[in-house]
């Protein structure tokens, strides 16, 4: 049985001046116990989709069910089986972390004792025990985010909606959050999570749906999507213009199956598709050093959301560029290894 189904969801926001067609016919299904990653740039319609499925918004057209309940007609029953962690932390600033969790537990219709016990467990799990009795106003952004996710888990829901669960977290908290989410999946939860980061969808989702301008424009596993985009590339910036052609030859030698080297004169940047990962990168650094070609920068460039978009839609994502340059820089190492 599918835990979540949606057919032809349409949502139009009407403001005084204009209409925004935020969703333009979204279809999706999420199997029980699986994770769907909704990937898309700013304004794509991710939050709107989540809000409809979590009963906060009524769709203008289409229908959706969550755990077998219709999102419009059976909203109240539906609410007792889901957990929602929205894009912005939805906790009470003037209550402590513990009080927030207790309150949400009570409103989830747990008994007072259960709510209290569950609050304690979650504070422990999300590393908030030290701050448990401080008002949330004094929490950092990341602490709020964790408290918010904890609030979504208070009733041990089997089905969860997480809207950009790691936005605004530092790398360590982000990894911690991933661990928590994986734990939920291990315990059998069904998850719909949205993200702007391909990398994150890659880590957590069984299937990915790419949303753009209110439509799903591609879906598949992360490998399927990535092969559509074209996989990893090695990028090199050489110091001297004269070295570009020589460096190009060395790059082409790396991967005999696909010796298509891209080079740009004015930026002195060269790139080539690779599937050799870090080993290939190391090899290339040695070869370049041997040939006494000085380099300013070298790195493994993974496909970003921008790349996905470029290849799927032919246009770059609207709005501010997501900060997802997933380039694992070896530049620092390269600089300190300057040939004599």
């Amino acid at each position: 049985m599918d835990a979540i189904t949606a057919e032809g969801l349409v949502k139009i926001y009407r403001t005084r001046k204009n209409e925004v067609r935020a969703l333009d016919g979204i279809d999706l299904t999420v199997g029980e116990g699986t994770v769907l990653g909704l990937l898309g740039p700013n304004g794509a319609g991710k939050t709107t989709t989540v809000r409809i499925l979590a009963t906060l918004l009524k769709p203008d057209a289409g229908r959706a069910t969550v755990a077998g309940f219709d999102v419009v007609r059976q909203a109240q029953q539906l609410r007792s089986v889901i957990g929602l962690s929205g894009q912005y932390a939805a906790v009470d600033e003037n209550l402590t972390g513990r009080e927030n969790l207790w309150m949400f537990g009570r409103l989830y219709q747990l008994s007072s004792a259960d709510a209290k016990q569950r609050a304690g467990e979650l504070l422990e799990q999300f590393d908030l025990s030290d701050a448990a009795d401080r008002v949330v106003k004094t929490y950092s952004g990341g602490m709020r985010r964790r408290l918010d996710l904890g609030s979504a888990l208070i009733g041990r829901p089997k089905l969860m909606f997480l809207d950009e669960p790691t936005t605004g977290l530092d790398p360590r908290s982000r990894l911690g959050m991933w661990e928590v989410i994986r734990g939920l999946v291990r315990d059998g939860a069904t998850l719909l999570l949205t993200t702007q980061y391909l990398e994150e969808a890659d880590e957590l989702a069984d299937t990915i749906a790419v949303v753009d301008r209110g439509k799903i424009i591609a879906r598949g596993t992360s490998d399927e999507l990535k092969s559509q985009v074209g996989g990893e590339r090695i990028e090199v910036v050489v110091r001297r213009k004269e070295d570009i052609s020589r460096a190009g030859e060395i790059l082409a030698r790396q991967d005999s199956t696909n010796p298509q080297v891209h080079s740009e004169e004015h930026t002195r940047r060269l790139s080539i598709a690779t599937n050799g990962g870090a080993n290939r990168l190391m090899q290339l650094m040695r070869d370049l050093a041997e040939a006494e070609i000085e380099i300013d920068d070298i790195g493994l460039h993974r496909p970003t959301l921008d790349d996905v978009f470029l290849s799927l839609t032919g246009h770059v994502a609207d709005g501010p560029k997501p900060d997802a340059e997933a380039v694992s820089h070896a530049a620092a190492a390269a600089r300190s290894e300057k040939p004599a």
Partner: protein, 280 residues
Amino acid sequence: MTSQAASRPNAGGGLAQALRDGYILMWRNLKRIPRIPELAIFAVLQSIMFVLLFAFVFGGAIPIAGGNYREYLMPGIFAQTIIFASATVSVGMAADMSQGIIDRFRSLPMARSAVLTGRTMAEVVYQGGILIVLMLSGLAVGWGVHTGIVEFLAGVALLLLFAFAMAWVGVWLGLSVPTVEVAQQVGFTVLFPITFISNVFVPVQTLPDFLRPVAEWNPTSTLTAATRLLWGNPTAADPRLPAATGFPAEQPILLTLIWVVVILAIFVPLAVRKYRSVSR
């Protein structure tokens, strides 16, 4: 999955759940009071400022039969404070709506009404506290209750009942405005004339003819007159002025109760409908 929902503890539904959830939300709204003490402190200071201003600056110029202007003034100050409080309710409601917390409430299997009843019930408790502080200040400037304990409690009950009704007006207002700042502005723009075109500071008879009926029927006036009557504080104006007559002057308690019913009958459905429709 249906069985899971049904087996949830406490999932009684209906009125019992509405009361329980409303109580939890009331607890939440009361918790914030000691954590932002400035709010309560300034609410009290504002009222005390009015007492001092009118008792000592204008008091001499305002003729009151039976003498003591401060005795006359205090019930009006209580009523004014309670009516002004609806502005803070609307600000609190607007603040809730502008933050994510309301989304969490709406995603929980809780009684929908609880967000509204929790806020209005908390307001009654809060105003009760403010009233105690104000009454102590009143005693200090020479006000007192000259009737029995029953009349005293009846007056307090009337004030709190009115606070409850006004809280619903505040809730509706807070849900209707786009931002917290607008809630603040609208509140004070509407409430100042309502509390000033009344018998709070001056006898209605001293007002120009065209304002007099407004002031007489104004719920601020009827509430003030009702508490004056219940507590034995001066209600009459200067005997040189024509005596107050008509229904509002003769039946202030009944009229106040009617006001409470009318306000609730209008603003409870309005607020509930507004809350249902917000961001849907």
